[in-house]
């Protein structure tokens, strides 16, 4: 029998990095950059978090280093896309390739390890235990005992929502996404805001990388495992709305947790592991499929009406 509370607790933990990546990608999409480099940014974040933690011997140092490095990477990406007119998709794929190659390469000179590096266990990301949550049934055990980054991931979507819909800066960001030329003629400094959005994207991916790597206490080559692309699928589904994205990411966290829990029970691991990716595919395709189906049906019924009207007119003419 599966322990539901444990499963849900694990879901929240596994959803946290995807939520943070999603919030990062959201800012890029809002300023009209379809950012496929999320995967690369996050991988840099994971690596930097482990390096920072190892060098400073403190978790805070790791998180800070991860955020700073991804911020830098995101700004370089922005430089290439905005100033040098590189195709954002190609630049993103190049960034992901460089992230994979560099992290794999640098593991050896920095740690003397190849493939993976495991941090000493006293450098684990500490979890926070709230006494008052114990009294609430179900929700208490699910939300308790997470790291500070997980709570941040659960709260930030609401903050981002407030930022986007209640502040001037948020309005400018949304305006650029809707119509950059109109925003420019309204006196919004497009370039400044775009760099700002990309910088935020970097910061969020850094936090995501830190949570991903430090919650497992290690760095593993290619440990992001398509989470960046899952985040993009979520953003396509929700139309880049922060709170909706939070819910969708929790669903992905649940599917990940289900895979982890079930894979120890004799089910084929490979087929189970497909679940999140299949879910992401369905999530991307289904709404658009329904939309085009509805459109087609409407068009057909409208055509029928036209034909009926047309036959009326011709009948009248003959009389």
């Amino acid at each position: 029998m599966i322990n539901v509370e444990q499963l849900l607790n694990l879901s929240v933990r596994l959803a946290a990095p995807v939520i943070l990546i999603c919030l990062g990608g959201l800012f890029s999409i809002k300023v009209d950059i379809f950012n496929l480099a999320l995967e690369g940014f996050t991988l840099f974040g994971c690596f930097a978090a482990v390096v920072g933690t190892y060098m400073t011997q403190s978790v805070m140092g790791g998180i800070l280093f991860a955020v700073l490095l991804t911020l830098l990477v995101a700004l370089v990406y922005a430089l290439f896309v905005f100033e040098l007119d590189v195709d954002p998709i190609i630049c993103a794929l190049a960034c992901t390739t460089i992230a994979t190659g560099l992290t794999r390469y640098l593991l050896v000179p920095i740690f003397g390890a190849s493939g993976r590096f495991i941090l000493p266990s006293e450098l684990a990301l500490p979890t926070i235990h709230f006494a008052f949550l114990e009294k609430i049934p179900l929700i208490g055990p699910v939300l308790n005992d997470h790291s500070v980054l997980v709570y941040l991931a659960l709260l930030l979507p609401f903050a981002v929502h407030v930022f986007l819909y209640r502040t001037n800066m948020g309005l400018s960001v949304r305006a650029i996404g809707k119509n950059a030329d109109a925003a420019l003629s309204a006196g919004i400094g497009i370039k400044r805001i775009r760099y700002f959005a990309l910088a935020l994207n970097g910061v969020f991916c850094g936090l995501a990388g830190a949570q991903l790597a430090l919650s497992l206490n290690m760095f593993n080559v290619g440990m992001t495992d398509g989470r960046g692309f899952t985040a993009i699928a979520v953003l396509v589904l929700t139309g880049a709305e922060p709170v909706l994205s939070l819910l969708a990411c929790l669903m992905f966290g649940f599917s990940d947790a289900l895979v982890l829990t079930l894979s120890g029970r004799g089910y084929p691991v490979q087929i189970l592991s497909m679940l999140p990716y299949v879910l992401a595919l369905i999530v991307v395709i289904a709404p658009l499929l329904i939309k085009s189906l509805v459109k087609w049906l409407r068009k057909r019924s409208a055509e029928k009406k036209l034909i009926v009207m047309g036959s009326d007119v011709t009948a009248g003419d003959r009389q």
């Binding site: 379809f34 496929l36 290439f80 040098l84 007119d85 590189v86 195709d87 998709i89 190609i90 630049c91 794929l93 190049a94 960034c95 390739t97 460089i98 992230a99 994979t100 190659g101 560099l102 794999r104 390469y105 640098l106 050896v108 000179p109 920095i110 190849s114 398509g226 692309f229 993009i232 699928a233 396509v236 084929p268 490979q270 087929i271 592991s273 497909m274 990716y277 299949v278 992401a280 595919l281 991307v284 395709i285 658009l288 499929l289 939309k291 085009s292």
Partner: protein, 351 residues
């Protein structure tokens, strides 16, 4: 006066063409320099590393042979990316297509075990092309029916197909029992290396001629330059893009056939890892021109073949090659010389 203008214009056009041709070379050089800085920063000697790479790739007959062996699949994969890129369709599902094609290839001897070997070999190549092509059609169909971004779909499908391959190589009729590394049973029908070389050369020539000299090739280039104009001219855009996506998959499938039947003689779990990115990088270096693609593929093939010597002879690990490739891809997309020229012209104007 009129003659003067003519005279002034002519050299500029040829200069532009020359610069366009030189730009990929400069991009590759810059990428090598940046990767060299990374090596230097991590305590290695970049010059020594590059010397070892060159020696490994071109220093001996075995090295040259290896370089050619790695270059051929990259050329085909670059075609697979480039032909789709020409009409604005972004095909990055090559790895998934290759795994799927390899599965199709591995199943052929199970289906027709009693046929003569050469019949099996022909059917296997055809199966590779078919499976690769069909799986490549899926993202294209989704894109044109529902407007879904093809990159996201292709990448998610890559993950799913990789897991499917992993599953079928562990359980099922084609899985080899009692191995630690998941792989398929040995495949008896094989392809000769010389045969593969001849086939690839034939494909290169056919590809170049088709793109330049036939009506579909012209329509393809027209869609790439201006899709609205092409549509107004009566080109059936969607049909052509679907055919092109199919062709892209066929190229990947043929690559898989070459790798599985010509090199490994079985399907490995990770045999196509990073190959899709190599093909894309080569296409980006070559800026979709056939000669450029061959140049780009040769560089990437040499890098791959020299990687072994690199890790044996120097303290720098073979992973550095991937760093170089990433930077090559990044810089290949900027038309560096044109950019420099423009900024200088701007300065001249303001001065």
């Amino acid at each position: 006066m009129g003659e003067n203008v003519m005279e002034r214009k002519l050299p500029e056009v040829s200069l532009k063409k020359l610069l366009g041709g030189l730009s990929p070379v400069v991009a590759v050089l810059i990428a090598f320099a940046v990767a060299g800085l990374v090596v230097l920063a991590s305590g290695g000697n970049p010059l020594e590393a590059y010397r070892a790479l060159a020696k490994g790739a071109l220093g001996s007959w075995v090295g040259v042979k290896n370089t050619i062996r790695y270059t051929l699949p990259i050329i085909l994969l670059a075609f697979s990316f480039s032909i789709c890129n020409r009409c604005g369709y972004f095909n990055i599902g090559q790895e998934g297509q290759m795994y799927f094609a390899a599965l199709g290839i591995a199943f052929v001897p199970q289906v027709i075990p009693n046929a003569p070997l050469w019949v099996q070999a022909v059917v296997m190549v055809a199966a590779g092309a078919l499976f690769g092509g069909l799986i490549s059609l899926l993202p294209a169909v989704f894109k044109f029916l529902f407007g879904v971004n093809e990159v996201v779909i292709a990448i998610l499908m890559n993950y799913i197909i990789l897991l499917l391959t992993d599953y079928l190589l562990n359980n099922g009729p084609i899985a080899k029992a009692d191995t630690t590394v998941p792989m398929s049973v040995n495949l008896a029908p094989s392809l000769n290396t010389t045969l593969i070389l001849i086939a690839v050369v034939a494909i290169i020539i056919a590809y170049a001629l088709c793109i330049r000299g036939t009506v579909p090739g012209y329509e393809l280039r027209m869609i790439g330059h201006n899709p609205k104009f092409a549509k107004a001219c009566g080109v059936k855009t969607i049909r052509i893009v679907l055919v092109v996506a199919l062709l892209g998959g066929v190229f990947s499938g043929l690559t898989a056939a070459g790798e599985v039947m010509g090199v490994y003689h079985k399907v490995y779990n990770n045999f196509a890892v990073d190959m899709g990115f190599n093909g894309m990088t080569a296409a980006l270096i070559g800026k979709d021109s056939t000669l450029g693609i061959i140049f780009g593929s040769l560089i990437l093939g040499a890098l791959q073949s020299g990687a072994v010597t690199l890790s044996v002879e120097t303290s720098v690990q073979a992973e550095m090659v991937q760093v170089v490739k990433g930077f090559v891809m990044l810089f290949a997309t900027i038309n560096i010389l044109r950019y420099l020229l423009q900024s200088r012209r701007k300065e001249g104007k303001t001065a």
